[in-house]
């Protein structure tokens, strides 16, 4: 994780003005907030106008068809490879987390995290990597199961290494600590996490589907 020379251009989407201003004040110097939005419509318009590197996206938003952050991502699919979405929410329910990840967000953090942590998460997402909180890792382990192991690049199972990485993240390890514990580089950890994110987004695993249906995600 290197600090880019140019500032990261960010759009903050949250319906609470107090939270937006607090977050803005907390963010590191290399994060440049270009626009703010409070509703789904405003968010889609702002993201299209600014075309930022990263969108900090609240999961619950007023407006649109009532689908909140998911709808914003769906409305910005044209920009998706260039613009990354980092979901941000007070909610840590499985519905909210997994649905927004499956919609295309590159990571998920809770609103209680500190300014420096969120700045680090923004840099990581801007660099093309995924950001997993311990809770999201827990959901992944819950959804994919902890017993079965993928032989090859199977979409609906995690590989042994991915399982290990997820477990360590769920235990509260940072990427750096995961790398140290598994004797691998941070880059490799990031690769594993990105692979898990891809599986979470693309997998049509029977259990995952059922798990999601149970929670009315699909």
């Amino acid at each position: 994780m290197t600090v880019p020379a140019t500032p990261i251009r960010v759009v903050i989407v949250d319906d609470h003005a107090i939270f937006r201003s607090g977050l803005k004040a907390d963010l590191a110097a290399d994060v440049d907030v270009q626009a703010e939005a409070a509703t789904v419509e405003e968010a889609i318009a702002a993201v299209h106008a600014v075309q930022p590197d990263v969108v900090l996206l609240d999961v619950h938003l007023p407006g649109g068809r009532g689908q909140g952050g998911r709808e914003v991502i769906a409305g910005c699919t044209a920009l998706l490879p260039g613009t990354k979405f980092l979901a941000l929410s007070v909610s840590d329910s499985a519905e909210d987390v997994v649905s927004v990840i499956r919609a295309g967000a590159r990571g998920y953090v809770t609103k209680t995290i500190s300014g420096s942590e969120i700045s680090a998460a923004i840099r990581r997402v801007a660099g093309g990597d995924a950001v997993f909180s311990p809770r999201l890792a827990g959901f992944v382990l819950d959804a994919f199961g902890t017993a079965e192991v993928a032989v090859e690049d199977e979409l609906d199972k995690l590989s042994a290494r991915e399982l290990e990485v997820m477990r360590l993240i769920a235990r509260g390890y940072s990427y750096k600590e995961v790398a140290k514990a598994l004797f691998i580089s941070i880059k490799t950890v990031e690769t594993h996490v990105s692979a898990v994110l891809r599986k979470l987004q693309l997998s049509s695993r029977h259990e995952l589907t059922r798990w999601a249906v149970d929670r009315r995600l699909l």
Binding site: G138, T146, A147, A170, R171
Partner: protein, 424 residues
């Protein structure tokens, strides 16, 4: 010229010509002339007119609060099926217009035109039409038109949608019903000279009944939906009241406490954190996947420690297990480890519980300064006895890894079956 077609309010029959003229940007007279002219060719103009009459909404259509409404896009929808959140409800144009009563003149014109078209159509085809069948037929049609016009337009469109008349199958069904009624009446009327054919009457009555049932089905459906809509509203109201009561009991009370203790940051943090936990529990209680006994207990002891030290304890759980006696010991060991972490760590304590078939693993991690395990005096029972000893007595293992970056306590409790297998 307007993008959306509406029937004109300045009308002779139903405002179709006016609306069409406005929509296409040509003169009303021309549209009327074309429609009347084409009516002489197999009644095409009339059919087109009737079709537009049914499908095109009246300009300035307004619906009652609970009646089916015409959305901006012209789709008839029942209120229940409209998106509840953020729908632009207040943007219906020309709201507040009252529909004038349907005049006798309009019905007369419509009826006569219809009959004339039919007769002309028949003559063109060279049928030998008998006025004896034509007159009752036109009376029936007139009656149907009358009945149809009794309903205001929103109702009409609501009915069409309630009967799902926008699909070909449903149109067929509706048309079939009406045709059955008409056929039944014709049989009765035409069969007046041969009453001996009793079965004909029976068939006719049955046909009429079947037709009436088919025609009335949309009404029944509509009332059922309205009933459902109302019930959903009542349920929402009850839920709202319950939420309000809960918020009053919990959140408002906590906010009051926080205001009182505003000078003590640690109290404020603790109160806020406890309230947050309680609220989360309440909100996500239904969605909670692993509500089994063991995880619940772990969460409870973590909450307890959190209250005690005002230190956040994040619990992530995967799977769940039954709470056995040994499980209880594990929970107690977890409590001790979390206590230790909160006491010495001074930052957020992460707890990860993984319950699988082989056993239960718990990891308690803090980011404190760490401590040298060998340096702990033998009389300090905390870690050695409550965590390591307790786990060993119950057939589990405990490992404590401490460094400058923090401490992690790893607890493993094999399940009963795998513990027996592993017993050497």
């Amino acid at each position: 010229m307007s993008a959306k077609m509406y029937r004109s309010q300045k009308r002779i029959v139903a405002g179709v010509c006016g609306g069409l003229a406005q929509h296409l940007g040509i003169k009303v007279g021309l549209v009327r002339a074309i429609l009347i002219g084409t009516s002489f060719f197999f009644g095409a103009g009339l059919i087109f007119y009737a079709w537009l009459w049914l499908l095109v909404p009246m300009a300035g259509e307004v619906a009652g609060a609970d009646a089916p409404v015409v959305e901006l896009d012209g789709n008839p929808r029942l209120k229940l099926f409209r998106p509840a959140v953020g729908a632009p409800v207040a943007e219906r144009p020309n709201a507040g217009r009252q529909k004038p009563p349907v005049g006798f003149k309009e019905i007369l014109i419509g009826g006569i035109l219809f009959a004339a078209a039919f007769i002309l159509f028949g003559r063109q085809m060279g049928w030998n039409l008998q006025l004896g069948t034509l007159v009752p037929l036109s009376i029936i049609v007139l009656g149907a038109v009358l009945a149809w016009m009794q309903l205001d337009n929103t109702r009409r469109i609501g009915l069409l949608s309630a009967a799902k008349a926008d699909t070909p199958m449903a149109l067929l069904r509706l048309g079939g019903g009406i045709a059955l009624v008409i056929a039944g009446v014709i049989v009765i009327v035409a069969g007046s000279g041969s009453w001996t054919l009793v079965w004909a009457s029976i068939v006719a009555s049955l046909a009429v009944l079947a037709g009436v049932a088919l025609v009335l089905a949309p009404w029944a459906l509509k009332f059922w939906r309205e009933f459902q809509c109302e019930r959903a509203g009542r349920i929402r109201e009850t839920e709202r009241a319950e939420i309000a009561a809960h918020l009053h009991d919990s959140v408002l009370q906590t906010l009051a406490l926080i205001q009182k203790n505003a000078q003590s940051p640690s109290d404020v943090t603790r109160l806020a954190r406890a309230q947050e936990r309680e609220l989360r529990e309440w909100i996500y209680q239904d969605a909670e996947h692993n509500s089994g006994a063991l995880v619940e207990r772990v969460k409870a002891v973590c909450a307890e420690v959190e209250d005690l030290y005002g230190q956040a304890v994040e619990v992530v759980a995967v799977g769940d297990a039954e709470l056995t006696e040994r499980g209880n010991a594990l929970v107690q060991a977890v409590r001790e480890a979390v206590l230790n972490g909160a006491r010495h760590g001074g930052t957020t304590v992460s707890v990860y519980v993984e319950a699988a078939e082989k056993g239960v693993d718990v990891f308690v991690k803090d980011r404190g300064a760490g401590f040298d395990l060998t340096g702990v005096p033998p009389d300090r029972l905390g870690v050695r006895e409550s965590v390591v000893g307790r786990m060993q007595r119950n057939g589990g293992t405990a490992e404590i890894i401490s460094s400058a970056e923090g401490t992690e306590v790893r607890l493993h409790l094999p399940s009963e079956t795998s513990a027996n297998e592993e017993a050497k």
